[in-house]
Subunit: 597 residues, 2 copies
Amino acid sequence: MPTYTAPVKDTKFVLNEVINMQKYANLPGFQEATPDMVSAILEEGAKFVEGVLQPINLSGDQEGCTRHDDGSVTTPAGFKEAYEQYVEGGWGTLTMDPEYGGQGLPHTLATAFEEYMISANMAFAMYPGLTQGAIASIDAVGSDEQKKTYLPNMVAGKWTGTMNLTEPHCGTDLGLIRTKAVPQDDGTYKITGTKIFISAGEHDMSENIIHLVLAKMPDSPDTVKGISLFIVPKFVLDENGEPGERNSLSCGSIEHKMGIHGNSTCVMNYDEATGYLIGEKEKGLAAMFIMMNAARLGVGLQGLAMSEVSYQNAVTYANDRIQGRSLTGTKDKEKKADPIIVHPDVRRMLMNSKAFNEGSRALALWGALQVDLTHKAQTEEERQRADDLISLLTPVIKGVLTDKGYENATNAQQVYGGHGYVAEWGMEQFVRDARIAMIYEGTNGVQALDLVGRKLAKDGGRGIRTYFEVQQSFIAENKEDVRMQPLVEGLEKGVNDLQAATMWFMQNAMQNPDNAGAGSVAYMHLLGLVAIGHMWAQMAKTAFEALDGSSDDPQFYENKLATARYFFSHLMPETAVHRARVEAGSETMMALAADQF
Amino acid sequence: MPTYTAPVKDTKFVLNEVINMQKYANLPGFQEATPDMVSAILEEGAKFVEGVLQPINLSGDQEGCTRHDDGSVTTPAGFKEAYEQYVEGGWGTLTMDPEYGGQGLPHTLATAFEEYMISANMAFAMYPGLTQGAIASIDAVGSDEQKKTYLPNMVAGKWTGTMNLTEPHCGTDLGLIRTKAVPQDDGTYKITGTKIFISAGEHDMSENIIHLVLAKMPDSPDTVKGISLFIVPKFVLDENGEPGERNSLSCGSIEHKMGIHGNSTCVMNYDEATGYLIGEKEKGLAAMFIMMNAARLGVGLQGLAMSEVSYQNAVTYANDRIQGRSLTGTKDKEKKADPIIVHPDVRRMLMNSKAFNEGSRALALWGALQVDLTHKAQTEEERQRADDLISLLTPVIKGVLTDKGYENATNAQQVYGGHGYVAEWGMEQFVRDARIAMIYEGTNGVQALDLVGRKLAKDGGRGIRTYFEVQQSFIAENKEDVRMQPLVEGLEKGVNDLQAATMWFMQNAMQNPDNAGAGSVAYMHLLGLVAIGHMWAQMAKTAFEALDGSSDDPQFYENKLATARYFFSHLMPETAVHRARVEAGSETMMALAADQF
């Protein structure tokens, strides 16, 4: 049975020493997030996910969700009770608006907890995760009445939410959707259509499910410009605002998926279901994207979380499993073989994960801080700057963290040898669960295109220019520090590759947009390495400073330095091949006619 | 439902035009393998796998194998009947010794068929695959009587075989095995122990199952030097050589695996089962390695085969699925969107697979030819040279083709977006099935260590020196050809990186063996890229020559050239980062104490 221990110490290191949350104590929500409060929440959160969610992860995968003949869905044993505890603990209310019963704490802090929850049980974490997305959309574009009607119960967790975008024939290209919304005399709409891949579409955890559904009105253009967003509750509310009549929508089937079996992924059929327009007519996609951007950061976290939990188990196994002898001579003479952690290639897999996990955790929390600053920073300039940075980095955090999360989960499984392939050990579940994160909320190819095709050029390239300034000022500040030099040089090389690749796009993608598409994934990974490298350089700097002071835990900081050095010696050099791929352009990639494959 | 079409045309191109099988028509077995014969076998083989094996692949995954209370195992619906057709068609006899009922054809030809069989149904292909391995071991080390007793029925397919190495506590380090073989007065042995991960360990397809089992005799050293090999039949043969008394061995359970559900992977319990020593006492491991080396090449083929079948389906989907518009302007105005094959990133994934598949197919068939030459070439020098080359390349073919096969299957799944995650579409099965090939027959880390720790140094480095000569003479011969120049330069850059990495090991691995281990996987992939690049350069040369002549299918050769150019522009540049990783050494990788992970 796999295990999980929330990396509270590492999270606190990032929050308190690297991104330094306390610096923002003057901002709303941050003043309450004192180091003691942060510590208490993380430790309670760890207890909850370790004690309640993790023990039902493997069993949840094996049992899966069951759809009954009446269309109702039962979640795996323990999920309903765990959700009750989640609600009782107020875990869904951390960042929510106090007006609707939330605690108003920083998104940064909730992100830390969210990572733990996903590592412990990704399929479970999706239920509240989607609710949070739905709340964000209602909060952003709903009327005051809609907010008052839906948000308190959703924030409290009594009701959950979903997002309904995809249809059998369209996902990425939502202009093609066919679901119809026909206006009624009473101001409501009749929603009719089929939506697929609806996570948490039907289940037994909550009193009501608030579906947010994209549909087209009869007089709207049949394109991406004709899409509106609707609230379609499972139970239409009665005059007291309580769940009343059952709406004419149902779960037609549960998808048979590669993983996340504990999550009820539904085909949802809407058959003249009662819906309410939310936001402006034909502005549905914009409203949904509010939800989507937050969701993409959440999916990036899934990549990190699967990498972390699979890594932890691989470490345990690598220390327990004895097999063969160290290349440099026997390490444990008492035993008939050495633990496999003595083998460099096992180390390589563990160090790859470790360097990624700690670097990406810092990046994800830094990203969450930018989200907070976008809303809460004191000046418009600061808010704009944070928004520029997180807009640029959102596709990178989603795409790179999930690609690498899957790769690292696969490597962690590899550490187990044949046992990694056997279900009981739990490692293959991490791989199967991690796989979806590369696909949903926009495939990673779509993320890369969003980055290269939209974010780079947005506002005359202000985001990437700001980002280069951040990097360059860090490099300039630390280059002369002898201890930092080898790391800063590694970062600088990566930044140079990133600049060259950016320049190449500027010179070659205007005349042929395929040149942007062809290099987009390589560019995304190049930027991801630089972003994680930047975090590692900052963490190393923090570690040097802590060791200069009177740290009572020098080993922790020495460990950080060793891992930083590994990142720059073994992972950062990949930027060169990403740059080479960008500069190779689209010519050979697009040379064949479609029927020549 | 996924589909599969055996790439007969491409196979014939490699056999007839690239490695030029006809050149060896003077060797035993090759004279029968005329182009017409090769064509007939490949086309019949294609018909068999497409019509019989592929249709039961997805259903076989979903149904899996069933162990009954009496320990018997039922394979998925259709497997038993398909196996009967396999036997009737004589597909298992292609390369077998005519003395035991085989057709004596080249291994090269059988390898081509084997790829098809795996693409169509990997779980099925493992049943005869293991039998062939068992036959090879019995043929190599068995007594004449043992050969006569077992081989005819095994060659005919009436009996199947297995290999029993792994135990719960040991896989890679076989010195730790505990299974005991106690000599009896009648010259037989009583075998007692538990073996795990035994593919095809128990099933309903054959009249008997001949287990080859590693065990230690009571007076043997309890190390790797004390292992002997035993024949342990499911039914002990009676005086007529027919299956008689049921031996005291049984399938204790079927493993719950990530994939290859159609293959019965058993925990096998031996409880004083009757066994027969095969080969010399305490030379069991060497005997098993005869089987293992052939098996490793077969596992490499699994990587290629999963990449090929997943690619074919991704191509179909990319041409069918309409979503979004081309970056360079609408391609299909009649439709509401363009097929996704217009998008560069979809192309990237397809081209990565295509360039790998065709390059690796050539490499695998070239490798199979070396196996044939090892046995059949006319002079000792030629046999030695072939053996040197295939010894060096076996871990590369196993490790690189399976790592890349999994990566490509994952990419092919990615082309499907959300549908790729849903079982009915069949893509996720290819990923799950492909995963095991990186693990069994020695994990890919073990392959890399075999390459760097044993094969590089073997016979004073004769293998790698020979291989460099092959590359360099090709480069020298073709460098002046203007058309070949860009490709040859790409190859040369890769060869230079490989030489530098080899040199680095020579200078740094003696003083610290961890430097070899740390760079082993990077080196394996570097060598793999060079090996596949070499094949692409040869295929390009062949294509240029064909186009200079009066080819009646110029498009086929133009397609080869376009794909070769893609390989060198987008894939070959990776050699630089592999070299950088080798040269980064083990220092940062091994810096942390084991308890610091």
